[in-house]
Symmetry: C3
Subunit: 310 residues, 3 copies
């Protein structure tokens, strides 16, 4: 079987998640043994309408480690045919002549789905606006799974700008597939998680609560998932940005208050919401997340282009 | 024999065009059988002073499919040594130390010729200002040839902004090499084909006429070559842009009026001059053009770097 | 042994310089025989906070000629996580998950050292602000050595904007390691070489003098190292820029006045400080410098990633 597309976190059921995680585990071995050539003749196009050097380089590194090749545009919005008025559909239909798989980043929610509808080659959503960022959610969950083995029964605190945070949305969708999971949303009251996610959790009988005090919750949960207050998404609300920034800081005291086997995650980049002296703590797994991002993306590229056993 | 450079459409005589088309046909087979490594140790530098993601990615995909490698700059005008006052000659002499072939896009007509004069490695012109875009013309003609086999005797309508359209100029030069070809220029009267092309056609005894009514001509020709009204080349004439835009729209009615075996081409990107419901019509070959662009560029890279039989 | 990092010219002692030059010589043979695959599974990340297409493409070409792969960002300052407030430390720690070696260009002096301190993979400094540009200095010295074989005893004139010129600083550090070398600084009095370099030369008993007349010195030295008056570093001193520009022009008369076996170097790009009719003179070695830059960078990449015999 082959993966057709990677568009949103919900598309993966528990069985398929297991496959992805097993493939990622294989990829870890391949990466540490010096790479592979299984994608030797494949071409990946990274088409980014919104710059994200981090995500782009992660995908490109994943592709290269499997022997594949990359063609790339970092600033498609300004430089490409889009500036001349071309539709996303025409752009996708053009680029599918150049490549075997497209990694698409767009500033508008829903664009990945639009692209998927007309594409004859696999599309991987590398983030679309305030919509989804499914590969980030997969690497987040993979990192959680590597620590706890069993995801059922975990309690997860998501902290920061939950209104605009694409990664927490995608992760919440994935967690809703497991049993006895509990989610705590910690945010300023003006940056709360949106209702669609809360309704989704209710529908899947995942208990959740809202809270604005990180220090109270920190000792109770298995996972703290910090996020950055995104200035670029609060441009028209500078007052909110100033109020939100600095409200939640994970420092040594917070980490020391956490449970023994608990972990601290962050999708990065961070500004000052986690102080660097925490980096050496074994609970701090955000650099493992970055590494796992390579393995997850290698796995997805392989599953789209070569296939997998189910 | 090797191709020295690809600078302008006129440099190809009918015999050489046959060679290019035969090589492109071979490349089609190579591409569909998973690529080749014949250019394994070759490096192509794409040096673009004017962004054109579409053309750049097409060349890069072509190079990669033959096993070659790419170094690339998408915005040489702003970022490179050019901003520090370096001459194009020095830039070319520098980059020829880094690469085996240079694909050059420039905003000024004539730059490719300047580069060719001093370069010790092959230069491929990927468009210079309002000058030429020879690889586009070759892929256009290749697409025509694939449909009709014989180019002699065809009637071709070129539609849109013929004054600023680089692709129609290059294609006109190529068509002038064939017999009994007839060209109809369809444009608003303020965006007419320039005199140099008309004189070239006269010299080669290619009959041409001008007309401003697409619906009248559509049923009579074998090829309709649509082009976009380029807002970016009409910045100082916004009134003309508004008047020209929307004047020529190919919709289902127009396509239905076309002859049975006729074809509809467009160099892309399009804005609204061809309505998307026409895309599925067998006459609409603009997505084949894009695909053929890869094969033509693979052929040219191979002919420059490895050579060909004449 | 492996090179840990390439941060500043001073880190190379005479023995290690010999190793670098011998390796570069080997690389020259490899490059002319069609490249190699010794770095086949290695990934180089070029992380440029300040655009420098020339330096970036030179490194990328070097990596590719050894079979390695490249991931790249040309405008990290504006596009990357840096714009979101990420520290250089976090950026380096992220990118080291994606690559095996990082080539770093930064606008601030000292950044390469900061990066080196936390990186677990090799960092190569590709220029940091007005600080250093060690690979340029190595290729400069390699070009000198290829001409004279023995560097001891040479007299070198450095000409132009010595206050802001990164390349002359790095080269001065390297020359200070040899015996009987003499340096003449030729600049307008408001763009003189800074005191730290002069003190370094004094400490190593390298005689130096300052002068503002190129024509007087040209017939006396073995090497003239021209540099460009950098408008971009004199933005706040436009008067100085105009005064400095055009003060030192190497034309045919100057070259003819030079000693028989002397050489003329320039790190490029040039504007008008060397007139193009001098290019064909055998003393003009600036295009050899560019070529040598590839070989030196190939050598450094190999020494960092594979190692070398001492």
């Amino acid at each position: 079987m082959k993966l057709d597309h990677v568009i949103e976190a919900q598309q993966f059921d528990r069985d398929l998640l297991e496959v992805v995680f097993n493939e990622a585990n294989e990829m870890e071995k391949i990466a540490y043994s010096g790479g592979s050539d299984i994608l030797k003749h494949a071409i990946m196009a990274t088409v980014f309408y919104e710059p994200s050097t981090r995500t782009r380089l992660s995908f490109e590194s994943a592709m290269i480690r499997l022997g594949g090749r990359v063609i790339s545009t970092e600033n498609a919005r300004e430089f490409s045919s889009a500036a001349k008025g071309e539709s996303i559909q025409d752009t996708i239909r053009t680029i599918q002549s150049y490549a075997d798989i497209i990694v698409l980043r767009h500033y508008q929610s829903g664009t990945a789905k639009l692209a998927e509808k007309i594409a004859q080659i696999p599309i991987i959503n590398a983030g679309d606006g305030a919509g989804q960022h499914p590969t980030q959610a997969l690497l987040d969950l993979y990192t959680i799974k590597e620590s706890f083995i069993k995801i059922d029964g975990l309690s997860v605190a998501m902290v920061g700008d939950l209104e605009n945070g694409r990664t927490v949305r995608s992760l919440a969708y994935l967690l809703a597939k497991y049993s006895d999971v509990k989610i705590v949303f910690i945010s300023p009251d003006f940056l709360r998680m949106k209702d669609d996610i809360k309704q989704h959790l209710d529908k899947h009988e995942i208990p959740w609560e809202e809270c604005d005090d990180l220090r109270e919750i920190a000792p109770q949960v298995d996972v703290i998932y910090m996020t950055r207050i995104q200035r670029e998404r609060l441009i028209e609300r500078p007052g909110d940005y100033e109020k939100a920034r600095g409200k939640y800081i994970v420092n040594r005291a917070v980490v020391d208050s956490m449970k023994d086997k608990s972990i601290l995650l962050h999708p990065f980049p961070r500004v000052d919401e986690i102080s660097p002296d925490v980096d050496v703590d074994p609970k701090a797994l955000y650099f493992s997340q970055i590494q796992n991002g390579i393995f997850i993306r290698m796995a997805l590229l392989k599953m789209c282009l070569i296939g997998y056993q189910h």
